[in-house]
Symmetry: C2
Subunit: 405 residues, 2 copies
């Protein structure tokens, strides 16, 4: 079992590693993350570390399993030196993406590659205990074939605001009973491993970035489904803001949004006008049998002119708010995902129309507005990648190495 200290004190918090000769193994390990095999001498040369320090740290990394023997290098006389390489199979990670009505889980290795996956319908409204019980059962089944590998951590995406530092939902509007619930603590105790929790759009942004846009430093992912939200990657990292509330597009006032009431208590919010729920309600009022974002998309695909017009209009409203986001953040890519984005070009065309009209040329000349490529898998991959990034950070590798001794 690894990281038990952390589990006790509250998951998601980096425990300072005990000082000692192997402290700094985490720093050395960053060099090896590129997957290239290196000898002790090469590691000493490129870091300036004392040869004895390199040997101690490599030994510690070998003991932890994070680094493996990668055969011998060519000898320049004498016994050929051993080479070492990051072993991404050393641990597994569990990612869980919980939506309003679904759960998707994946087991990945430490390189973020998906080893196993499962999903099923699950109503978040059942409350934290029944939902997490089901997640635990699904996770145990999924992990069974991988039980020979240590579980390095769990990442969870939830459909509402989350205080990332504590792993608790904060006043989540569509998650009755979840306010302040210690999601991270519950899963950490169950699996004896740290758990990181974030909102669904942040993990989607991480997943989309990891899978398709790794070289893009400034990316914004917008999820348009029952609600509307965004995850912001700036200078290569997710930006959560002071309380983890960054990216909350849904309750921004739309210019010309008028006095449409929103469930947040304000009026004219983007979510009240352009979300899947808003469009479904508009179509119902026109006599259609339409409940969800999926129904809206199905109607548009079936040729309903009204559905297509509403989607285009929603795209324009989203574009009004995104043009402000473009002015503020100057991203180079905006990815549009979520169930309503599955309608294809209708929504996207509206977004593009307004953003390119409203934003200044300097910010739009290289801006790309694209549909999500990871689709439904973005969240679960992002949840796992969030854990991988944490687990392989210098401080965590130091802690892991200390625990493995």
């Amino acid at each position: 079992m690894c990281f038990t200290d952390e589990v006790v004190e509250a998951s998601g918090v980096v425990t300072p590693a005990p000082t000692g000769t192997t402290t700094g193994a985490g720093e050395l390990f960053q060099l090896l993350r590129d997957g290239r095999a290196r000898t002790r001498a090469e590691l000493a040369a490129s870091t300036g570390l004392a040869r004895s320090t390199v040997t101690a740290r490599v030994d510690a990394l070998l003991a932890s399993g994070l680094v493996g023997n990668a055969g011998e290098a060519t000898s320049t006389g004498g016994r050929p030196p051993t080479r070492f390489r990051f072993d991404s199979a050393a641990r597994v990670v569990l990612g869980a993406d919980l939506g309003a009505t679904h759960a998707r889980l994946a087991v990945t290795d430490l390189a973020g590659a998906v080893l196993a996956e499962a999903s099923e319908d699950l109503d978040i409204g059942l409350g934290p205990e029944p939902v997490l019980d089901r997640v635990v059962t699904l996770a145990r089944e999924l992990l069974t074939p991988w039980r020979s590998r240590l579980l390095a951590g769990i990442g969870v995406g939830l459909p509402g605001p989350v205080e990332h530092s504590s792993g608790r939902p904060i006043n989540p509007p569509i998650m009755p009973g979840w306010d302040g619930f210690d999601v991270a603590g519950a899963l950490s105790r169950e699996f004896g491993t740290p758990t990181l929790v974030d909102n669904d759009v942040n993990v989607m942004a991480l997943g989309e970035h990891f899978s398709h846009w790794r070289d893009t430093e400034h990316l914004m992912l917008v999820k348009v489904a029952t609600g509307i939200g965004s995850g912001i990657i700036s200078d290569g990292a997710i930006r959560r803001g002071a309380q983890g509330a960054a990216g909350d597009l849904g309750h921004v006032a739309v210019p010309g949004g008028g006095d449409v009431p929103c469930r947040c208590g304000n009026t004219g919010c983007l979510e009240a006008i352009a979300s899947g729920a808003a469009l479904a309600a508009a179509l119902r009022s026109r006599g259609y049998d339409c409940v969800s974002s999926r129904d809206v998309v199905a109607l548009a695909r079936g040729g309903s002119v009204e559905a297509v017009q509403l989607l285009r209009g929603a795209g324009r409203d989203i574009g009004e708010v995104l043009s402000t986001a473009v002015s503020l953040l100057n991203p180079s890519v905006i990815v549009i995902g979520g169930a309503l984005a599955a309608a294809g070009e209708h929504l996207l065309a509206g977004v593009r129309e307004v953003v390119y009209r409203r934003s200044l040329p300097l910010a739009t000349q290289h801006l790309r507005i694209v549909p999500s490529r990871s689709g439904e898998r973005a969240g679960v991959i992002g949840a796992a990648v969030m854990v991988v990034e944490r687990v392989l950070s210098p401080a965590e590798v130091d802690a892991l190495v200390a625990a493995a001794r």
Copy 2:
């Protein structure tokens, strides 16, 4: 002279340091930036570096002057070991803040402390060559008493969009003749030292953050003057976005902004409605003799109800846009600066009224909206701090150390 290679290839670009035994001195130096004196043995212990490596790197840092001898430590037998400390007086830095109608310059040490300062009226509209000639003259005068110290770099804030990577203004609306002008190159050639250029609000944000909010990770500085713009600090660093255009609040559409034409070609932009220029125009149309932001503030201070109402209304309009920024960025502090903010509580009250009404509780419960404390000095301090941060980064210290050998 230092950094000459950089000057040739384009200032602001980090030149990879030549590899060799002193590469890595920059990394070691980061430990010493806290100002605490340490022995070679202490440096070796806390880094795991070979003793010979520490000695080579300390020698290189001593030769560069960045580190100085700080006396002897207590001996545990034998010759007492020497201690070393960061010498913030090793170099000076020049900061220049150019506004629409003023220039302010400061010489600071490597800890950002102001050693000398000057300012005068200077019309940016004269064009780059006359303005920069004058800046060079002022800078030479200001630097004269410090000529025994090497100039580590120059930081410049300009009142318009700047491509930070190249140090050139990009389509700056109030800077005729400056579009694409190589400001960084011109000053770098003149002084034989690298020059970093950014827009005025980013350097104000850096200055305000450095001077008063160093422990605040998420801060937004809003400048309300002839124009309106902002600088965004997220996770402790300024975020410039893909083209350096981040923070451009001025051309965001205000909800309810209507069809007031803006100089950018759009309508209803924040700057067209709530800037000092817009308020001065509104007061002129009511018969007042009012040209600048300062005139607006003077009228409000003199008791003009119309000026006070306009300021309050401008605060509300700015608040509408800032409530979106709060939803997107979740800052913990918003600093309001610029000439119009000098009107005191009128503008700020309008901002607060709307932001606290419009934004979600999670984002506003710990949010502070405060007036600038650095005032007119924020920009010039920020311009210098931008250079200090660059010059003392590991890669730059490596380059500097290599050049000093």
